[in-house]
Symmetry: C2
Subunit: 243 residues, 2 copies
């Protein structure tokens, strides 16, 4: 019996999923939370604490944590740095505990916390994540963080390539329409991923804010083999080149 | 200034839409509510009353209305007929008032009732609907009824061809990611629409129930020029070949 793959294009669609029982949730927020989290682990961060509100981020700062926080794409004054993947450098994060507050990504992590396991997905750790999921051999729900509860192209097309990898393993089937649609979007995008993402509304929003320097990096596959997972409310990494 | 087009892939995503002010909502439930409603008007029905619950459908039956009602694809015992487009024949519906209860479609109609105008979309009235929307020249929200709040391929791919028609008019732009994704799905599907729909989960569900005889009809474009709209809680048709 093959394991199933379901895709939720928005956190709003998570509660109506058909998958239940024992399953793994893959959190996807390509621009920028999950790309940045993978980058932090690649650069040796000890742990990341996903924080849903600015107030909680401030509390972590007062307790002495390094804090990454932004609102609507802008770094907050109390934070050490913002959410761009490039901020999570070896200098900024190696061996540190980082509290990380984002608009969309951490809310999705919060939503999925009762799943068997919650894992962080992005283009930069795609192959490592795929291999880890194939090894785990459980049903998978890919939860796209979206943008303010809306469908977005970058998370959806990532869901598509992950669906493709899992199906190619021979161990998974994707019967839900959203997984089929994600796969079709990926097939449309794969020969020119950055060109495809030119169409994404969020990409234009980032460009307006002058924050689009991480785009090429965010859509480059397999630059890291980390597989960050949620354990007791914190993100940790037991595998890959984390440090 | 071009008018905008936004696509909601599920009723769950409607409240987080960005479109506000004066806009038209297009309800889409290809399998089968909106295809059947268009067929009924093509065959001369006087009015259709969308009914959200089985209890209300029973009440309409007791008041002497013709009732079309099914649950999970099966005709209910008190109903005159079910939801297949082929049931809405001239013999069954001409000059009649039909109360129509469906699992997904009427809930979406209910949700959108505060919009400026609510109109019924399906492949069978695509060209007439497109021309009507272009003439109206207002912002458009395409609301896919989906299946139990989930994304589905047939409604999404219809959203895509409607987006294409509206953009081709030169009067509309589609900036939201969901409209772009719908358009890409349509471009993948258009050379073999029925083949594409083979992938849809709901289509397999219908096949299991022996209800897939309307599939070819439901995915044939422009067999009717009706444009059914919601007026005071009822669906009526002021245009096209309605009778």
């Amino acid at each position: 019996m093959k394991k199933t793959i379901e895709v939720c294009f928005s956190p709003k669609l998570y509660e109506d999923r058909v998958t239940d029982g024992n399953f793994i949730v893959v959190i996807v927020d390509i621009l920028r939370a999950t790309t940045s989290i993978c980058t932090a682990f690649k650069n040796g961060v000890k742990t990341m604490i996903p924080v849903p509100t600015l107030e909680m981020a401030k509390e972590y700062k007062e307790k002495g944590y390094v804090v990454a926080s932004e609102k609507d794409g802008k770094v907050l004054d109390f934070a050490d740095f913002g959410n761009s993947a490039f901020e999570f450098s070896v200098e900024n994060v190696k061996d540190k505990e980082v509290a990380y507050c984002t608009t969309n990504g951490t809310k999705a992590i919060e939503l999925a916390k009762d799943a068997d396991e919650v894992v962080i997905g992005s283009f930069v750790n795609l192959r490592a994540l795929s291999d880890w999921l194939i090894e785990k051999n459980k049903d998978v729900v890919i939860l796209c963080a979206g943008w303010k509860n809306k469908f977005n192209l970058e998370d959806s097309v990532f869901a598509g390539v992950l669906v493709e990898n899992l199906i190619d393993s021979g161990k998974f089937s994707a019967e839900c329409d959203s997984a089929q649609a994600a796969l079709d979007l990926w097939k449309t995008a794969e020969t020119d991923l950055l060109g495809f993402i030119e169409k994404a509304a969020h990409r234009h929003r980032l460009k307006k804010l002058g924050l689009d320097d991480v785009l090429e990096y965010s859509f480059t596959l397999n630059t890291s083999d980390v597989v960050p997972v949620l354990k007791d409310g914190r993100i940790v990494c037991e595998t890959g080149n984390g440090g």
